[in-house]
């Protein structure tokens, strides 16, 4: 399979009045088409910065990025606009990119139907539950047909039960639509349950400490059933030790 994204020696330094902060150093990573990769690391290690750089919201100060597809980005909060209906919210990206064609609108309607949100399309975000709102945010991102999806702690605002359901939903949606995903999280279980590979970053300046290949050797693996595999806790232990958390 071909690489859809390649990071070569990515570095990022922030300049501030009281000095220079090196957030990222020598990050190297290749992501294959259709892969789900998680990036995990201690807080403040620059994982979110890395996503912003991949998305092009920030510029790296060293290294190069090769991208082979459109990027979609999901933030920590759903960031739905309360003054727009669900349907208008979902069309936001198309509007901004000036590609609100009837064909794309049809695609959006299909997505809404497929993921059980069509009947809510004239409602406002405040009338929906947290899990539904997160799904709306995903469809808003999918509407622009990205081939790479970046998830920045996208589920951390949800409560535990909803979170498990939404990660499962989103996992299925991404597999259905054959989208490559890169997820930043601080939740080890979440990373293991969803990913093909887990990238562990070091403390600041963040650099790749180790990359774990996750394989449960089961058919129809999903974020819920893989938690029952005996390998799950093994992966958890290994990664936990590597993160080297001190309270």
């Amino acid at each position: 399979m071909k690489n859809i994204l390649e990071l070569k020696n990515i570095g990022k330094k922030y300049q501030a009045k009281n000095g220079e902060i090196e957030a990222l150093k020598n990050i190297n990573l290749k992501v294959q088409e259709g892969e789900f990769v998680s990036i995990i690391g201690p807080s403040g290690c620059g994982k979110s910065t890395l996503l912003s750089i991949i998305a092009g919201l920030e510029k790296q100060t060293a290294g190069e990025i090769y991208k082979n597809g459109e990027i979609g980005y999901m933030l920590q909060t759903d960031s739905l606009l309360p003054w727009r209906t669900i349907y208008k919210n979902v069309l936001f990206g198309l509007e901004v990119r000036k590609i609100k064609t009837s064909e794309n609108e049809k695609y959006v309607q299909e997505l809404l139907k497929k993921y059980n949100l069509y009947e809510f399309k004239e409602k406002y975000p405040s009338q929906l539950s947290g899990g539904m709102r997160q799904r709306v945010a995903l469809i808003r991102t999918l509407a622009t047909r990205p081939s790479i999806l970046l998830l920045d702690e996208a589920f951390s605002a949800l409560d535990y039960q909803t979170r498990i359901m939404v990660t499962n939903d989103i996992f299925q949606i991404l597999k259905n639509e054959k989208i490559t995903a890169i997820m930043v999280t601080h939740d080890i279980s979440e990373a293991i349950s969803m990913s093909d590979r887990v990238v562990v970053l070091t403390n600041r300046p963040g650099t790749v400490k180790k990359i774990h290949k996750i394989d449960f050797e089961m058919e129809n693996r999903n974020p819920i059933n893989c938690r029952e595999s005996p390998k799950f806790s093994k992966y958890f232990d290994t990664i936990w030790k590597e993160l080297d958390v001190h309270a």
């Binding site: 979609g72 990119r97 405040s126």
Partner: protein
């Protein structure tokens, strides 16, 4: 929520709310009635001098006499000046706030000037305004504009800068440019800020107009009040103040109702 079968407890709760509401309105009415009646009685038995404190009947008579002559003209002039000052202040205020939001450099440069202008009592500029734009309606409108403009700019700019950063970032993930961020995120997110500033503005414009009328005019409620004071007709002064209070309340309510119509969603 509309339910057919309301439980006893719910009925009791709703009755209690209604009862409280009625009690508040009745108490308010009572305060007004006691105040007016007390004023009238004390003036009649001579405890307060109605020559310097006026009295409700004298105010009423002045009101009736004025109505037949030129009261409506004075009210009209004040309302017109206020509306012009208010509209100009709001439009200019929003426009300047947008420019300052757009250019961080400009807003940084102008910051100390805005702070100074904001704390300066604009009335002090009265003589300058009169000399520059002439004594008359333009001077009054300028005064209203000066008083409301800086506050509008600062309040709206503040609202713009405090817009949810996540929403702005969300727009940027779709490569929104600055203009799109402004029209699709910043402005719609700040509709409540606009209305708050309109509510403050209508009051400030009225302050500006009355101050202006005190200084220069030949018509308007401010003129009526100052004239009444000069000829020692407290009846006229009091009537003017009461009409002014009513005009202010009506204008404020007009903004509140407009807000309700435009911001339908909760």
């Amino acid at each position: 929520m509309r339910e057919k079968n309301i439980s006893e407890e719910r009925k009791k709760y709703l009755r209690q709310i209604k009862k409280n509401k009625i009690l508040v309105v009745l108490t308010r009415l009572a305060i007004v009635i006691v105040f007016i009646a007390g004023w009238e009685i004390l003036a009649n038995i001579g405890v307060i001098d109605s020559f310097i404190a006026s009295s409700p009947t004298r105010i009423w008579n002045t009101f009736i006499n004025l109505s037949s002559s030129d009261l409506m003209m004075h009210v009209g002039v004040t309302c017109l000046e206020t509306l012009i000052g208010f509209t100009l202040g709001t439009i200019l205020g929003i426009a300047i706030a947008i420019v300052l939001w757009w250019s961080k450099f400009l807003s940084k440069v102008l910051e100390p000037f805005l702070v100074i202008l904001n704390s300066l009592p604009k009335v002090a500029l009265g003589p300058v305004i009169i000399i520059w734009v002439g004594a008359g309606m333009p001077a009054i409108i300028t005064m209203a504009l000066l008083i409301s403009l800086i506050v509008t700019v600062m309040e709206i700019l503040n609202g713009f800068l405090e817009t949810d950063k996540e929403k702005i970032k969300m727009a940027q993930t779709f490569n929104a440019n600055k203009f799109q961020t402004l029209t699709k995120i910043i402005i719609p997110a700040n509709i409540p800020t606009f209305f708050n500033s309109l509510k403050v503005n209508i009051g400030l414009s009225l302050v500006g107009v009355i101050t202006g009328e005190f200084l220069v005019s030949k018509a308007g409620l401010g003129y009526l009040i100052v004239y009444g004071g000069q000829v020692f007709q407290l009846d006229l002064v009091m009537t003017g103040v009461i009409i002014l209070a009513i005009v202010a309340a009506i204008m404020y309510q007009a903004v509140v109702i407009t807000e309700r119509i435009i911001v339908k969603r909760s």
